[in-house]
Amino acid sequence: MAKQLFEWDYSSYPGAKKYPHLFKPIQLGNLIIPNRIKYAATEDNFNDPDGFITDADVAYMRARAEGVVGGLCFMQGVYMDEPRRGQGYVGQAAAWDDKFIPGLKRIADAIHGEKAVAGFQLMHCGRVGGVAVPYAHGPSYVPQRLRVFTPVQEMTKEDIKQCIKEHADACRRGIEAGFDVIEISGIVGYLISNFISSYTNRRTDEYGGDIRGRMQFAVEVIQACKEVCGDEYPLGIRLCAEELLDDVRGNTPEESMETYKIAEEAGVNYISVTAGWQESIVPVISRDVPMGSWIHLAKRAKEHVKVPVQMAYRLFYPDLPNEAIGKGELDMWEMCRPMIADPYMPKKILEGREEEIRFCVACNLCLARLFRDAPMTCYINPLCAHEHDENFYPKPVEEDDKKEVMIVGAGPAGLECAYVAAQRGHEVHVYDKREQLGGTILEASKAPYGDDELMTCINYQKVMCEKYGVQFHLGTEVTEELIQEEMPDTVVLATGPVYPQLKGKVAEGARIVNVLDVLAGRVEVGDNVVVWGNRKPGIGVALCLAKQGKKVTLVGKDKTAGFDVNPSFKWRYMIYLRQNRITAYNDCDIEEVGEGEVIVRTYDGYRFPVACDTVVISEREANEGLKQAVQSEGIELFVIGDALVPRNMSSAVHDGYRVGLRI
């Protein structure tokens, strides 16, 4: 007899009418989940180095549990071995001993406190594990493609048997801690996927050979866990539908589908479909991959197995999974990054507040942080990783402390600051000389490879500003006189950067244009373009121009192009620069602009000419404008975003949020 843990009635909510397939129940094993939404297990590096759960993780999970409005909410995957070979992240939760149960119970209780279904994931990280020890475990010794990972040691049969037992023991601990669903992680390069893949499994014993042999370890883990779970606790597994490892002779898609069938035969109650490994050389989840690109894998999985199929992977907008579920191509909508960016995303969908969703911009900063042993953070959600810290929440100001705040600049920094300050009770006025909100993001979002998604941040901020009564004064340039006239209590300068002039000689008539004008299409450029500045704005405009057929050269002072782009996305840009035949001269500067060419000077003084008919300025400097005017009036002053130090959109948003809390 199937059971349902918590009663949910979505019938009166607008979201349930708009997306009926997302808010209907589904049965996993003998458990009924009230809706089709799952916060998938996501590492966060918030926990104690010894694997004990921290307040930060509990608070983080509680927010996501509230967000899934009765759906499935998984805590991060746990490692299960005392020698820590299975540990892939320094702050990963552990479950190798009963002493971890009380901490795990705190998370299960937090999830149940929000009337959501608590999921517990077993995750031995295999060849990407061993983060705190000299070597990781794998089915065979196959060198790591990326240096960041620990060397692999081949597991003996005793190691394998021990590892299966550890899965079963950890499974029991999860159930004792109060979790309702158990999941085995077999994806992206973790241990089970290592056994399954022909790339990493070269064994000749019963755990190697053909796909059935390579699945043997997974089957034994499933069976051992199934014995613990019985019929009461659903057991699922995450498996790759496509490893995207053809370049190293990984599994074929047909073999991957075979693994699904074998897992189903072994007794799992659902399968979570994934694509790619951390070692894959093709993009899977970054912004340059169009939304819904992988949905065909869920459809393929549905054609091969009868158990419910779940999937995440570039399904950020609810219409995609709603439609897929309606068409029978998917059963449950998983989310990781969308709910890192906005933990309450499904709740907002349900309540008909979609415009209030802060959408993930698929920058992969969260992943970049994890791989560098840092606590996870989010590019656009400043509250992420601070859910446990009450100082990070907007607190209402006392009536006497309410201020009139003038924010100069309606870019991501200014807008973020505006709605947070207004939410706290201040009277906030946002000024911008332009007629539109967005600041430099209006132009930055014109760059190719998915940068249009950056505007989702501005759209969110606009809605929040309107919600909290921020008053906009667009088309109004703030001057010293206007400040003296208005005499606000506080001025926040979010005016964006200034674009410096070239320092060397410039020939008369040389065509020099601004990056924003080029991206917006306000100016024409020639066929041989040199972009000055090798950070993100320079890369964006260079790619944009190369797509128009221009010969583009990037010249910048940083040692590598894209210094301000996180490494989990930067590798994409490096490939696109090569593909678009853009030459990058890093650690260089433009010394002179002549007729038809510029002289590039290397950091150590070598000089060479580069053919050029147009120079695009994308170097940026801090904006000192209006500071003096504000300070001379004795007005409280904050400078944020690129006006303070030119950086990226994330820094602008985080600056804005924090100053919004401080005013």
């Binding site: 060198p143 790591q144 493609r145 240096r147 022909s198 370049d247 190293v248 002179e592 002289i599 060479f608």
Partner: protein
């Protein structure tokens, strides 16, 4: 335009050659240090080969993200051959890579090798220079073979350790 191309190139060229010389010299300086620590009974060549294995292992790792089996066996072997020759060229050698007559076979030629000059300066036996080169390539291939699950091998067919004439290596897919 006020660029004196000859001056820029000759300065750059001189500095490049100095840097290339430093690569060889640094190896031999460390070799001396290792021999001093190892003591008088140590086998000099064994120490040098051990050092070159460490270097080869590290270089091998840097090859892994750059090679792609999807380009086909012939392109894969040519790229691998070019990568091996490229290391040598960075040190100041003149190298070339040619496809062999048989399938799965590539030849790496070196017509100018800077190492013997410095080996002489530091009193290193000439045979060791050739042995080190072969060991370096073999060590690099160890991880590449394991990673791609392809049995790769390399053998030295000709060695002129005095830096004249020609080195010839055969890179091939072992059966």
């Amino acid at each position: 335009m006020p660029v004196n191309a000859e001056k820029e190139i000759t300065t750059l060229w001189r500095n490049l050659h100095n840097a290339q010389g430093e690569i060889c010299k640094t190896f031999y300086r460390w070799r001396e240090a290792a021999l001093e620590i190892a003591g008088p009974d140590a086998d000099e060549t064994e120490v040098a080969l051990k050092a070159i294995r460490v270097i080869g292992k590290d270089i091998g790792k840097s090859f892994l993200p750059r090679l792609n089996w999807l380009k086909g066996e012939e392109a894969f072997l040519m790229n691998l051959g070019r990568a091996l020759a490229g290391i040598w060229a960075n040190e100041g050698a003149i190298t070339s890579v040619e496809k062999g007559e048989k399938e799965g076979e590539v030849f790496i030629k070196c017509t100018r090798d800077p190492w013997p000059t410095y080996a002489k300066e530091y009193g290193v036996p000439m045979e060791e220079v050739a042995q080190c080169r072969e060991k370096l390539f073999q060590t690099i291939l160890e991880d590449v073979s394991l990673f791609f699950n392809i049995p790769l091998a390399i053998e030295m067919l000709k060695a002129i350790p005095r830096g004249e004439g020609m080195y010839l290596f055969r890179l091939y897919k072992a059966e």
